[in-house]
């Protein structure tokens, strides 16, 4: 169920503002790819271009190729809605649907698409996804309660369960732990280690320890100044990036000298 993503010469715009320039990157299946870099260098922008969420913003567009499993996501006739079904996303702030119970939140991807499920199938999907998100034990006896009543860390894991319930091939996570306490963060990092057995995972993080703990490969983005586009400076195995990067800026950033 996991697929490789090949990005080539991707330029990402907000209107006429070029936010990210000429990214070429290979994202390996069944692994965790971390994206690091100073604020505003376009990590979120790049991530959102991988499931065509970028174009939701008025005036936003991209040029270049994102190839998933041999198919260009930006090719003619490709439906962005279909792309988002196979490339799931978890956002920085946990955002369960406030009108839905925990149960319905997990099923949101199907329920909102008017997909009919037998009760037994639905139960199975909910249990499987919640177990996958390491939340089943905590909520199994209150599935009918509102998702908004959970703690922040639980809400984020609920959002992960919601994302994996539609069985995507890729899971994108934009700073999924930045709003969470250390214990919830650890729970989610453990979870990522589990999930990478099945999914291709791309995570944006500000936390260098987190990148070095969880990821297999790391890409460093940088920006020369405000108004300039962000660029992928270097991408390599995580160990290499943190111990022996080939670019000076990467070394400065991972050793905490700026950013």
């Amino acid at each position: 169920m996991s697929r490789q993503i090949d990005v080539s010469d991707l330029d990402i715009y907000y209107g006429s503002f070029l936010a990210v320039e000429k990214v070429t990157m290979e994202i390996k299946p069944r692994s965790i790819t971390a994206l690091i870099g100073p604020s505003g260098c376009g990590k979120s922008t790049f991530l959102r271009s991988l499931n065509r969420m970028h174009e939701v913003i008025p005036g936003a567009r991209v040029e270049g190729k994102v190839v998933l499993d041999g198919q260009d996501l930006y090719g003619p006739g490709v439906d962005p809605v279909a792309v988002r079904r196979s490339v799931g996303m978890v956002f920085q702030n946990p955002n369960p649907f406030p009108t839905m119970s925990i149960y319905d939140n997990v099923l949101a991807g199907m329920r909102l698409n008017n997909k009919r499920l037998k009760r037994s199938e639905a139960d199975a999907v909910v249990e499987h996804s919640l177990r996958g998100a390491n939340l089943w034990k905590e909520v199994q006896d209150r599935l009918d309660r509102p998702g908004a009543g959970l703690s922040g860390g639980q809400q984020q894991r609920l959002c992960i369960a919601r994302a994996i319930a539609v069985q995507p091939q890729v899971l994108l996570m934009d700073e999924p732990c930045s709003a969470l306490d250390p214990i919830s963060t650890l729970a989610i990092e453990d979870l990522m280690g589990e999930l990478k057995k099945e999914y291709t995972i791309v995570i944006v993080t500000h936390n260098m320890q987190q990148a070095s703990r969880v990821s297999d490969r790391t890409g460093f983005f940088n920006i020369e100044g405000t108004g300039k586009p962000g660029k992928l400076v270097e991408m390599d195995a995580t160990d290499t990036i943190f111990s022996n990067p080939s670019v000076k800026a990467t070394e400065d950033y991972v050793s905490g000298r700026f950013g």
Binding site: V81, G88, G109
Partner: protein, 380 residues
Amino acid sequence: MSSPHDTGTRTEDRAGDGRTSPEDPDAAVLTRHQPPSLAASMHASLPRWAGAAAAALGVLVAAALVAVTDVHVALAVVVGAVVGVAAFVVASRVVEGERAATDRFVTALVTIAFVVALLPLVSVVWTTVSRGLARFDGAFFTQSMYNVIGEGGGAYHAIMGTLIITGVATLISVPIGTLTAIYLVEYGGDNRLSKVITFLVDVMTGIPSIVAGLFSLALFTLLFGPGLRIGIMGSVALSVLMIPIVVRAVEEMLRIVPARLRESSYALGVPKWLTIVKVVLPTAASGIASGVVIAIARVMGETAPLLVTVGLTASTNFNPFEGRMAVLPVFAYYQIITPGIPPQAFIDRAWTSALLLILFVMVLNVGARVLARALAPKTR
């Protein structure tokens, strides 16, 4: 009240307990950091009944002025208020100090403003209830004015007319208003059409209600010829007034639905229209429902547009597409403007109709709150 001296004593006591010793650095810090200025700045405060006493003084002064001199009541009230506030502030200044006195002064002004704002409301409710109760009886709710010449009869036909005509107006306005708001918030963005619509909605909000009535009258005259008076004409007139209110209310509610909810729905591969129907609208449902109910309450008591479109009849008519219909405001208007014999019977019916309208509006407003609470997203 503690003073710097007390603090010193307390520290000595502690040392005596053996819990702290004189060379204990914590104890030293504690003593040094005990801010003496805090204790010094604390004044006694006025007793809790001081405000009530000042108000009573004001009332007393005003009453005395009216009783003893022949000044106008309004002037006496103003003088009483000034005396009461002055006494309150001076007392506060003496006992509590300058800053507290300023606070008391502003509090007094705000309270007086509140009372002044409340007076007309209380007066209206009081007048309407006291005069409307005379005919607040079973017959009023069950009988029409069919074949009634003097006393007796009721407003059953007008109650039904009001319910039917506002009901139909709601059926027309809510879909149009909601869809317009959805276009403005979810699709229009900043484009030309949505700017034009917003402008037109603003203009519609401001048109006098009689103009809405004349619009409907002109429309139906154009379509079906002159002289027509049917219920639906009134509903159309009320819709003209109601649509902009609904658009505004729904628009406001849709705008506060966080963008991240829409995004997380898109990210699950849900198309935009389903996101609107299944995420945005349910999240905003509570606000939308209460906005709609308040819009109904606003147009329910309209008189002028109904006067020119549906006219009046003495008997009950359930069909908004045929024949004149009575509605409460118009009924009340004619009862009071063209009383028969005995006149008191007509005047009483008018007041009871007015009371009933106020009750309707009140029930709708309370209903809006209940509905909002029932539909609001829950967290437990």
